[in-house]
């Protein structure tokens, strides 16, 4: 039973010592300790958040890069396609032009040939006429050497005239 009766002295000492301990520990130990723990937890949280953000940023950049690559590829394809069509069109154009040019040349050549032909024909005609004149002259000369033959000729010519 004696154990259950608190001693006044110890009650007083315990009260003083405990309150003093509470005050001193609260001021010099718990405040810095809890503050430091909280601060560290906050900084860890912050670091984790930052890491998460960095990860997201990374993912964003990667996807952006991919987008850019795709875009670049598409652009390249576009350019290639364009170049191809351009080439085709240039070729076609060139072909057409060549054809036109060729046609023109042929036309020219034809005209030239025609001209040449005409000139040649004219020349031939001239030559033929001069030759024929010469021949005729020769023939006439020979024929007109004798009188009978001249008369016959005149008669013939006259016959023609009459016919006309």
């Amino acid at each position: 039973m004696e154990l259950l009766i608190p001693e006044v002295g110890l009650v007083v000492f315990q009260s003083i010592a405990f309150l003093l301990l509470l005050f001193l520990l609260a001021k010099f130990a718990w405040k810095p300790v809890l503050g430091a723990i909280k601060e560290r937890e906050n900084s860890i949280d912050e670091a984790l958040n930052k890491a998460e953000l960095a990860k997201q940023e990374m993912a964003r950049l990667t996807s952006q890069n991919q987008d850019l690559m795709q875009q670049a590829r598409a652009e390249r394809d576009e350019i290639l396609k364009e170049a191809k069509t351009l080439k085709d069109s240039i070729l076609n154009e060139a072909k057409k032009q060549a054809q036109v040019e060729g046609a023109k040349l042929i036309e020219k050549a034809k005209i030239e040939i025609e001209n040449q032909k005409k000139a040649a024909l004219a020349e031939v005609k001239g030559q033929v006429s001069s030759l024929s004149l010469e021949i005729a002259e020769r023939v006439l000369r020979t024929q007109l050497d004798d009188k009978t033959k001249q008369e016959a000729l005149v008669a013939n010519l006259l016959k023609d005239v009459e016919l006309n």
């Binding site: 004696e2 154990l3 000492f13 010592a17 405990f18 130990a29 405040k31 723990i37």
Partner: protein
């Protein structure tokens, strides 16, 4: 799963050991009654015991009680200063002046006043000795009936109290310095030993019971937790710096429980008081019926806190002492083969109890404070 199995295994083993132990205890009183010609093996200082039988209860109670001297080893004791407030005067002397007497047989005269010590309590001495040479008047229960001066002596418990306060301050201020020195870095040394415990108090005791208001009560909860834990551990040390049964002393647990009680009632909000005096949500006769019950409840909670800590620690000490005393009860060295391992085992349990009781006191304090400051639900 693995852990669970291990725990289960240990728990089963505990049950077996306890069963054995209780069988042992049940057996002992019978033996005790039979052996009545045992010589007293233990002589408490100054006692030239002529008692035939070794009194295990007396011995254990003597060891867990407060004392005016501090046992060093064998027959050596350190006398502690006695400070009395008697008849309006402060009287001081050393407890050595009693010359090791604890039966009111040696009178110390100081400043015209006469004192005797009996069962570690100081009384005003009677004019003349009784038939046993004791300067006190005894009643039928052999308790002294003399008046007592107010005793503010530096007893064994007071010294341990001061020692533990210094120890706690040194330990935790050095831990706090660790945080200042390595701000934002991982803990080291003592700091990393105690940080998990501090976090345990914060995350498992304060936060679940106090909610977002926990920060205000953290200093108290941490102080009371470490005070009880450190002193429980010191009490388990059987030699000099320890050896006192501080947390098993009703005065100490009373002050601790009183602190929780005062914090509770001074922080109680209007919902708390309304729940006590005019319980909402029940019919009026019930409200009137509940009021005294709730009012009693305010006081029974801290009283339960006080008794729980006191009883658990005291019981542990008595258990260990009793096991050791079995050697003297049977007056045979062979008993030590059984009683010493048992005492060591109980000592191991006491190490756990030291932590558990600190935890229980703190969590119940947090719970009571939490009930008082809880927001309206």
């Amino acid at each position: 799963m693995d852990c669970n199995q291990v725990f289960q295994f240990k728990f089963n083993r505990l049950i077996v050991v306890f069963a054995l132990f209780s069988a042992f205890l049940l057996g002992s009183p019978r033996v005790n009654a039979q052996v009545d010609t045992l010589h007293s093996a233990e002589k408490s200082h100054g006692e030239t015991a002529e008692k035939k039988k070794f009194e295990i209860g007396k011995f254990a109670l003597h060891h867990i009680a407060d004392s005016h001297s501090w046992h060093v080893i064998g027959e050596k004791f350190i006398g502690l200063p006695v400070v009395l407030y008697a008849e309006g005067k402060v009287v001081t002397f050393n407890s050595d002046d009693f010359k090791g007497d604890d039966d009111a047989k040696v009178v110390v005269e100081k400043d015209g006043q006469r004192f005797v010590k009996m069962h570690e309590k100081i009384y005003f001495a009677s004019e003349a000795a009784n038939e046993h040479g004791q300067y006190v008047a005894l009643n039928e229960a052999h308790h002294a009936e003399n008046k007592r001066p107010l005793d503010f002596s530096l007893t064994k418990n007071t010294c341990t109290l001061l020692l533990s306060v210094v120890l706690l301050l040194v330990v935790f201020i050095s831990v706090a310095n660790g945080y200042k020195k390595r701000a934002g870095k991982s803990p080291k040394g003592l700091q990393s030993w105690l940080e998990p415990v501090i976090l345990f108090v914060r995350d498992d005791i304060a936060k679940p019971n106090l909610g977002h208001k926990y920060e205000r009560f953290m200093p108290y909860l941490l102080t009371v937790f470490f005070f009880i834990w450190f002193n429980n551990m010191l009490g388990l040390v059987p030699f000099l710096p320890g050896g006192a049964n501080l947390t098993g002393n009703i005065a100490v647990t009373m002050v601790l429980a009183l602190t929780t009680f005062l914090i509770t009632i001074f922080n109680g909000n209007k919902h708390y008081w309304k729940h006590i005096f005019w319980m909402p949500g029940v019919p009026v006769p019930m409200k009137i019926f509940l009021m005294p019950l709730e009012l009693i409840g305010i006081f029974t909670k801290p009283i339960a806190l006080m008794i729980r800590l006191f009883a658990n620690i005291t019981a542990g000490h008595i258990l260990v002492l009793s096991l050791i005393c079995l050697i003297f009860v049977f007056d045979s060295l062979w008993v030590s083969a059984a009683s010493v391992p048992f005492a060591i085992f109980i000592g191991g349990i006491e190490l756990m109890v030291a932590f558990i009781q600190a935890f229980i006191f703190t969590i119940l304090s947090a719970l009571f404070i939490g009930m008082a400051v809880e927001d309206h639900h």
